[in-house]
Assembly symmetry: C2
Homo-oligomer: 396 residues x 2
C-alpha cells in the first residue's frame, strides 16, 4: 500500500538496505509511540527489519502483541521520514554514527520489569544540523518550574549562560518558565542547547515557543522519541524526562514546586546515576519548595552557581553497570583490544588518558569503552575505567 513501507520492493544494496532499516525504525517508532522495553529486546535479538516484520505479521509473544496491536497496521514510515526531512531534520537510530550510545547506557542498565518506562528509546526524531552524540558530550540539563519567579528566571539565565559559555550544552524541555530561560540564555551567549520534546519534533509545544524552538533547531537540536505529528500526552512528559536526564551529565533544578515535573527528572537522574543538583531560594517561595525538599531529603545537592554545578559533574564518566548481563565472549574489534590493553585491573584510567595511551580518537575510545562495558569486559568507577576479569580468566 505504501510504496516506501516495510516489505515493499526497494532498491537493493547498502544505500537501499540503510533506507529499508530507517523505514523499519520509523514504522516501529509510530507503532509503540514511546518506550517499549519488550520491543527493544526483540530488536536487540532479531534485528530491526525482522522485528518490524514480526510486528506487522503479529508473530509475537503476547506481551508485545498487546503493545503493538493498536497501531501495527498504521505504516506512515515513508511519510514521517519525508516530514522530518522537509523540516531539515532526520531520524537518528542506533544504526547511525551519531546515535548517543554512550548516553543511553544509563537507561540500558535499568531493569525492564522494575522500570517499564525507562527503556532506551527506539529512535530520536531530530531537527537541526548538529551531531547528537557530539552535542551531548558535555551537557547539563537545566530544568524547573513552569510558573517560575523573577528570581528563578534570573538564576536560570545566569547559570545556563555560564554553563554554555564554558562549553556545556544546555539540555531542557522547552517549557514555559525555567526551561525556556535556560534555552534562551544558552542561545544568547552563542552556546549549544537541546530541547527534548514530549510531542513530535514538528509540533511547537508550547505554541508560544514556536520561534524559540525554531531558533534552537538553527544552532542546536530539537529532539523527540515521538514521530512527527504526535500530540503531547501526560505520560509522554514523564517518559521525556528520562531522556533529558539520560542525555545530560547531570540535572540541575532551578525552582520547582512540590509536584513539579522537575522532581521526576531528578528521579530519573538518580536512577541512572547522574548527579542531581538544586538551587535554593527563599523559604517563603512556593516555587523553591520542591528544591528545598530534594536537598533536605538528600535527593539533590545544593548548588548556587555554574562553578558549583561543574564541580559536581564529571563529563565522560559513566556509573558502573551493576548486575548487567554479561553476553558471551565475542571477538573484540581492533580498537577494543587496544583500549583493553591499556586499562588497569585496579584503580582506573580516564578516557583522555586512554586516548593518549592508544593513539585513538576520543570518539573511537568512547565507542570501544561502550562496547567493552556492554560486553562485561570493562567498567567505570570513581577513578575512571578499569578492565574486568572474564569468567574464563577467573577460573583458570
Amino acid at each position: 500500500m505504501n510504496p516506501g513501507g516495510i516489505g515493499s520492493p526497494v532498491a537493493q544494496g547498502a544505500a537501499g538496505e540503510s533506507e529499508e532499516r530507517q523505514l523499519a525504525w520509523a514504522y516501529l517508532s509510530r507503532v509503540v509511540l514511546g518506550p517499549c522495553p519488550a520491543l527493544t529486546a526483540l530488536i536487540d535479538s532479531v534485528g530491526v527489519r525482522e522485528a518490524a516484520r514480526a510486528v506487522r505479521e503479529r508473530s509475537l509473544p503476547p506481551i508485545l502483541r498487546a503493545a503493538t496491536e493498536r497501531r501495527r497496521e498504521l505504516d506512515l514510515a515513508a511519510r514521517d521520514l519525508e516530514t522530518i526531512r522537509a523540516l531539515g531534520g532526520r531520524l537518528v537510530t542506533p544504526d547511525c554514527a551519531e546515535w548517543p550510545a554512550w548516553r543511553m547506557l544509563g537507561l540500558a542498565q535499568l531493569t525492564p520489569g522494575r522500570d517499564p518506562d525507562g527503556a532506551v528509546p527506539l529512535v530520536f526524531w531530530v531537527r537541526g544540523d548538529r551531531n547528537l552524540a557530539e552535542l551531548t558530550e558535555r551537557s547539563l540539563a537545566v530544568v524547573g518550574a513552569r510558573c517560575s519567579t523573577g528570581y528563578g528566571d534570573r538564576v536560570a539565565g545566569a547559570v545556563a549562560g555560564d554553563l554554555a559559555v564554558h562549553g556545556w550544552t544546555v539540555v531542557s524541555g522547552a517549557a514555559f518558565g525555567i526551561d525556556g530561560m535556560a534555552h534562551r540564555a544558552a542561545l544568547a551567549v552563542g552556546g549549544a542547547t537541546i530541547a527534548v520534546l514530549a510531542c513530535g519534533p514538528d509540533r511547537p509545544y508550547p505554541a508560544q515557543h514556536d520561534r524559540l524552538l525554531a531558533r534552537i533547531a538553527e544552532t542546536g537540536l530539537v529532539v523527540s522519541e515521538y514521530p512527527p505529528g504526535t500530540d503531547a500526552r501526560k505520560h509522554h512528559f514523564l517518559a521525556r524526562n528520562r531522556l533529558i536526564a539520560a542525555l545530560s551529565d547531570g540535572v540541575l533544578v532551578i525552582e520547582a514546586g512540590m509536584r513539579s515535573g522537575a522532581r521526576n527528572t531528578v528521579k530519573w537522574a538518580r536512577r541512572i546515576g547522574r548527579p542531581a543538583l538544586a538551587v535554593p531560594g527563599s523559604v517563603d517561595s512556593a516555587a523553591s519548595a520542591g528544591c528545598h525538599r530534594m536537598i533536605r531529603d538528600g535527593e539533590a545537592v545544593l548548588v548556587t552557581c555554574a562553578q558549583e554545578v561543574i564541580a559536581e559533574t564529571t563529563p565522560l564518566h559513566l556509573p558502573l553497570i551493576a548486575g548487567a548481563d554479561v553476553p558471551g565472549a565475542r571477538e573484540l574489534r581492533d580498537e577494543e583490544t587496544r583500549v583493553l590493553a591499556v586499562l588497569p585491573d585496579t584503580g582506573g584510567r580516564w578516557p583522555h588518558e586512554i586516548c593518549a595511551a592508544t593513539g585513538l580518537s576520543p570518539a573511537e575510545v568512547r565507542a570501544a569503552l561502550v562496547a567493552l562495558d556492554l560486553a562485561g569486559r570493562a567498567a567505570s568507577g570513581g577513578g575512571g575505567w578499569r578492565r574486568l576479569e572474564t569468567s574464563r580468566e577467573r577460573h583458570g
Copy 2:
C-alpha cells in the same frame, strides 16, 4: 585583704560552707576568665575549695601555673557576688541544683588536648529568676548574621516565634541582626529566651541592646561564664559559641556570611553531637552564602520552618559518650538504683517513661541518668536510655 575572700574566717556550718564554695568558684572564674580544662580537671580531682587554695598558693603543675599566674592575686569574689546579686542575679555552679549538668555532658566528652577551648565552664553568672536547668530542657539555638537582611529578619522572627509558641526556649547571643530578632520574637509571644554573652552578665553588649537584655532577664535568663565587668574579647565569642551549642538541643542558623560566627557555633554543635540546621535563601545574597556552604558540605541540614526544625531535634536525648572514662564502682543513690532497675539491657526507654515507671520527678530522673551515664552504668542511643553491663557483671 578581702574580708569575704577565700581563706577568710567566715561563719561555719552548711550555709557558711556553701558561701565559702561560692566564693571559691567566683574567685577561680575571675582567675581563668573562660574555659580552662586543666583547672576543671583539678577541681574534679580535689574539690573547688582546695583548688582555689592551690591556685592562690601557686602549688600547681606548670600548665596550671601559667594559666592562673596573671590574675591569681586578684580576689574580687565577694564583690563579684555582690554585683550579680544586686542585679537580681546569682552565680550558678556545679554545686547548684539548677546546674545544667545534663547539657554539659556534650562538652564533658570532648578530649581536652584536642579541644582546649571546649571545656565545661566553671560557672554561669546569671541574670534572671528562671531556673537554668529547667529553661534549657527543651531549647534551640537560633543564631546568624549580624548584618542580616530583611528576609533573614523575617524568617528569624517567624521561626523563633513558632519555636517559642511550641514551648522551646530560644537560645542566642544577643548580637545585632538574627540573634536580636530571635530573642525579640520569643519575647513577643511570651516565650522563654536565653542570651549567652561573651562579656560579663552586667555589661550590655552591644550597648544598643541594653533594653533588650533587661527584658530577656525579666522573663528568661542572661548568662555568661565571665564574671561581672568582663569586657567582650574576640576569643570570648568563640568560647561563648560553645555554650550556645551546649545549652541547646540543636543549632539553627538563619543567614550567615562565609566567615560568620554562626558557622563556628555549628562546628561546636557538630562536635558535641547536636543537630545543626540552616535556612537557605537567595543565591545572590551574601548573607545566605555561609548557610548554603554548610548545607552543601553536609555540615548542616536544610530546614525551611519551625516544624522541620523540631522534626530534626530530639529533646532530652544525649549522644552516647564514646570512650568516656568509667569511674570505679560507687554506691548508687536511691534514685539511681530505682532508675537503673527500670532500664532495659537492649533497646531503650525515654525519660518520661522512666518517670512513669519509677514515680520519680523529671528532675530526679534526669539527675539520676546523668550520674549513671557518667558512672558508665547507663547510656542513651537512638531509642532512649538503656543500662550498661558493668565489667564485674561481664566477667561473671
